[in-house]
Symmetry: C2
Subunit: 206 residues, 2 copies
């Protein structure tokens, strides 16, 4: 009878990439997203909320012109995943250092005025968060159990450190974005695989 | 040099209606929005965040068709303010009891499928929050220092109990909504006063 939405992906697939596996640190703001603490002291995030927030974020992102969206990433795994998301959706990516005034000082050469920012890890991308907070740019951020969320507007609770977790998150965000935009109709029409969002491993690392 | 936005209204006007004055109770989730505790033990909310979040909420609301927005209110002061907001913006208002399944069960006579929900007080409107949480409807909520925010997606920290505070919040949300929609160009073109959003007092109460 109920039309409550299906999860974006089967639960075992979420669990397999460890999307819910946090860290041993819990910030006060992230407490509400934590389901339990595992025997090895890792905090685990609530899977329903992860799924719901990815969907909400994608719906929200899809209400913007992709040119007005900036995605930030600063570590190998997130850069690979976020870059693929940016490529597919047509949004902008910032992977380097964000300079003071970049969103607020029109005299800067690199001045941009995004309408929405998606942050991969607000500890590493602190400056982007700080700059966006001086403006009225909404901040969506992937947040692990150890992230401080004071300046985040919409939290996507998740493992924002693992290679496969990040790949899956950005895969889902991209796929849902395309569906919400009406650019594809079904999941099957989405021509990318989760592995396309994964950082390529060096041969010797295999 | 910087284009950081002006506050929506002069700071003294915010302070005058007590938009920042919370309660003597502080929930863990609201901690991040609290600026300090006053001598009489009332927690005070950070004014910059209040201002920023009202702006963000209005911008977000304006990305939706007003017909797809539901505003909920359950107490005299919030009902008056929210009803005026709904009237001006063309969104729907729910002031009574929200029934289980209202957003999820298409067989119900009163079934509605909003795209976005704006909650005046999630303690009194718990059922609406609960129902929305079963769906992928984003939940924006006015939250005082004593509100639990577990199921809220975007928090507008504020005094959500005072008559004048509620009137000002919904006045600003409505005005900014109209500007964002391009229906008015300037604040001056907004033909309503804050007092239009205030619950009418009985004569004997004067």
């Amino acid at each position: 009878m109920e039309t409550a939405p299906e999860p974006l992906i089967d639960q075992p697939l979420y669990l397999e990439v460890g999307i819910h596996i946090g860290t041993k640190v819990k910030t006060p703001g992230m407490k509400r997203f934590i389901y339990k603490v595992r025997e090895d002291s890792l905090y685990l995030l609530d899977l329903n909320t992860i799924d719901r927030r990815i969907r909400l974020a994608a719906k929200l992102l899809a209400r913007y012109d992709p040119k007005d969206i900036v995605v930030t990433a600063s570590r190998i795994y997130s850069v690979a995943a976020a870059a693929k998301f940016a490529e597919i959706t047509g949004s902008r990516i910032m992977t380097g250092r964000v300079m003071p005034g970049i969103f607020t000082n029109p005299n800067r050469k690199d001045f941009v005025e995004p309408e929405l920012i998606l942050i991969s890890d607000n500890r590493n991308e602190r400056q982007a968060v700080k700059e966006a907070n001086k403006t009225d740019i909404p901040i969506i951020a992937l947040c692990d159990t150890d992230n401080w969320i004071k300046f985040v507007d919409l939290v996507i609770p998740c493992n924002n450190k693992g290679r496969r977790s990040l790949a899956l998150i950005y895969f889902l965000l991209a796929r849902e974005f395309m569906k919400e935009k009406g650019l594809i109709k079904t999941n099957e029409e989405f021509q990318y695989k989760v592995s396309d969002f994964e950082a390529k491993m060096e041969a010797k690392a295999r």
